[in-house]
Subunit: 102 residues, 2 copies
């Protein structure tokens, strides 16, 4: 069960994963420790649970994020960056840096 990138293609991920609306925001939040769906929907105005889940699913699918479900009531879920996802940290930092300096 691995990414279906043979070979892994940064441009592809940038295009099809990071390029999707909300994805960069979501990743940035997760990096900051905002890693529960409830927090994440509230972190962006206009982001719906449907789209959030599409993004999270995709990020998990491409193994940038990892999902942990806690068997509690009410249910609790947390997402975190994987080692692979962390390789994009430099990119996220670069984006932050650009954002700050413009």
């Amino acid at each position: 069960m691995s990414r279906e990138l043979q070979p892994p293609d940064v441009a592809f991920i940038l295009q099809n994963v990071l390029g999707c609306k909300w994805t960069l925001h979501i990743l940035a939040e997760v990096r900051r420790g905002v890693n529960r769906p409830g927090q994440l929907v509230r972190s962006a105005d206009g982001l719906t649970t449907k789209v959030l889940n599409e993004r999270l699913t995709k990020l998990v699918r491409f193994e940038l994020l990892e999902k942990t479900s806690y068997p509690e009531v009410p249910p609790r879920v947390e997402y975190q960056l994987t080692a692979f996802g962390n390789r994009f940290s430099s990119l996220l930092d670069e984006i932050d840096r650009l954002q700050a300096e413009l």
Copy 2:
């Protein structure tokens, strides 16, 4: 005649300009000196003149690229990175770096 980004928003550009199909490729090529439309269409399999021009127009519109037309026959046109566009060089480098290392 300035970008209608108030304030300039890297995430927005990443989303709506760089996130579009072919755009990263086009920018990378222009950086390498492949800066004429004819060369650019040929540089990517599947890229059509229609889409190329949409991308170039958008890149010029957001002032990442600058266009120079030479009044010759046949017409010659060249695109180059602007100072603003160059600020994204670090991002492109970072992408190349990631690409190489994965």
